[in-house]
């Protein structure tokens, strides 16, 4: 589904991604872990098309389509969904009105007929229940006055509504208490299917106890330096990242000798 080949990207002239390679197939869940500043959120931003990143090399394909040629809204309509680490507040824009606009754009792109108000409301109700999102939040202004946890849960609610192919969750677990984490994880588990894929960006193994990944990758210094299964996450949890850094630096110094 998603194929990233030798992806390099800069922000303000500084190279942040230094040759990422990643293959994600339908039905899979990949976790990307790594220390602060390793490029995890940058990778999410580049995939979503945030404009202050400049791609200098490499390719990204989504089901055979060149993602890097598309505007952010086109990527979204093609089925890329980014659950933001810090969702913005938009005063006065009702959550529901916003979702209706978004969904209708996506449906037009997918050649689906527009939903009637009744169908839309029915779907809203179903998805709210599925991801345990309160109706009162759905009817408020977009993220305005939401707590950190409510914002994250709104991201998952939107994910449920828009039904993307590829969901990238950028530290969706950060700032969640244990109950909220369980609700968010349950929601995502219910949304998993053989046709979609998830990339979870996280610092902590904790999230992966709830959403079990098929693959775990470690991002360090703009590259994926280690890939494995869920056991890798446990190992990181136990040992931290320092051993990995040391090991890598050791390799580098050997290489440069």
């Amino acid at each position: 589904m998603l194929s990233i080949k030798n992806l390099h990207a800069n922000i303000e002239g500084k190279e942040i991604l230094k040759g990422i390679n990643l293959e994600v197939n339908a039905g899979e869940v990949h976790a990307i872990m790594g220390p602060n500043g390793s490029g995890k959120s940058s990778l999410a931003s580049v995939l979503a098309g945030r404009e202050n990143y400049e791609v200098t090399e490499g390719e990204v394909w989504l089901d055979g389509k060149n993602l890097l040629d598309m505007k952010p809204e086109e990527r979204a309509r093609e089925g890329v969904f980014l659950a933001f680490q810090y969702p913005v507040e938009i005063p006065g824009v009702s959550n529901i009105n916003f979702l209706r606009t978004a969904l209708s754009e996506i449906r037009i792109h997918r050649n689906l007929p527009p939903l009637s108000a009744k169908e839309f409301l029915k779907m809203t109700k179903e998805k709210q229940e599925l991801v345990e999102f309160e109706a009162k939040l759905a009817n408020r202004s977009l993220n305005q006055g939401f707590s950190g946890g409510e914002k994250k849960r709104n991201e998952v609610f939107q994910l449920a509504m828009l039904d993307p192919k590829l969901s990238i969750l950028d530290e969706t677990d950060s700032g969640l208490d244990i109950d909220a984490l369980r609700i968010v994880s349950n929601g995502i588990n219910k949304l998993r299917s053989a046709d979609n894929a998830f990339v979870l960006i996280t610092h902590y193994q904790r999230l992966l106890e709830y959403i079990v990944p098929d693959f775990v990758h470690v991002l360090y210094n703009g590259q994926i330096v280690r890939s494995g299964t869920k056991e890798l996450a446990l190992e990181l949890e136990e040992k931290g990242y320092d051993w990995l850094k040391e090991e890598l630096q050791g390799q580098e110094s050997i290489n440069t000798k």
Binding site: E73, F84, T101, E105
Partner: protein
Amino acid sequence: MMEKDDMMLDELANKEYEFGFVTDIDMDISEVGLNEDTVRFISAKKNEPQWLLDWRMKGFKAFQKQEMPQWQNFKMPDIDFQSISYYAAPKKQAKYASLDEVDPELLRTFEKLGIPMSEQKQLAGVAVDVVFDSVSVSTTYKEHLNEMGIIFCSISEAVKNHPELVQKYLGTVVPHTDNTFASLNTAVFSDGSFVYIPKGVRCPMELSTYFRINAENTGQFERTLIIADEDSYVSYLEGCTAPMRDENQLHAAVVELIALKGAEIKYSTVQNWYPGDKDGKGGIFNFVTKRGACRGDHSKISWTQVETGSAITWKYPSLILQGDHSSGEFYSVAVTNNMQIADTGTKIHHIGANTKSRIISKGISAGRGQNSYRGLVQMGSKAKNARNFTQCDSLLIGDQCGAHTFPYIESKNNTATIEHEATTSKIGEDQVFYLNQRGIDAEQAIALIVNGYAKEVLNQLPMEFAVEAQKLLSLTLEGSVG
């Protein structure tokens, strides 16, 4: 990042005015220039009584003595009052029995503007008094209103048929000496609407008028007078769009509202005069004097305005709260894009005891637009326990526009309460990107954000006007952010 912004700004700048077209109809136009003879010519053309001609003459004399106002936050353009023609009327005289008799060219114009002048309108509860240039062409549903004693007609007709009402109230809220533009209007006003709601009557439909400028070099000087007698209610809508012009056109309307004891008037405007091109060439100068007087106890007037057009908007719908317990509201959204200038706000004079007022102003600046809120809240010595709340917000799009706030407060009363809140914000790239990431393009994203920002004001508009206003906001700001 900057480059992309610039590109978007360019794109916006190149956006043409969508309603710019000219209707080809023979006009009956007075010669250019302004002197006593012009005033007499207009009055004679309209077969006016002597008292009205005398009043026009007083207005003309006041106009000659007055200076152009200089306190506004922009350089007043040079207006050559002698190069303007002060009277234009469609040659085919008005007063048709049905729409079939109206010049089809005219009807097509209205259609392009989306002015709904059809029988179905009745279902929507709207009677439309269409002013095409200066003379009323068609007044609908008059009969139905007549049965209730409601008078809704052109001011010319009112002068003929209800002279006692016109004479009693005309010029009592905005005197002929008020300001340059009001004096000019007094001297040369062409036509406009007149509304009288009798005691205890609740007007069953929204009354609405569409104005449209359509003759080159013809100033438009509308005069509107609305009187709500004791315990009556009326909601009045005014909206306009103008065709594209290369030369500046002056628009100097006067609106007077009078609410007697227990009466309520709601006056809503959507203004979309031609704003000029991206360099500010052409466009309407909109210098309007609007004022309402809450004469009786427990009366109420509310102004709601959505100002998206004009090269210059100079407009301060004001309120005089004379009656005890009377209240006033001012809700405003003003948008400036490209080279547009808006200097708008309100003045509220609290005179009676326990008077209340509320001001919600939302300015939106894009392109190189300059948007000023100017407000005065005055608490008189007898205005015991008077209260005002003012909220004044500015939204900036891009980095070449400006927002300015000039709130004045004067209180001669230590029991009065005055609150003022103000915010300035910028549409963030983060907000736009967030919406992009959900499949919504930049244009639509801006429209959503701006409509959300202005919601508090838009909610005050009657339903169908609110929809029109939302479209206008989106249209005006198309392409303004990347």
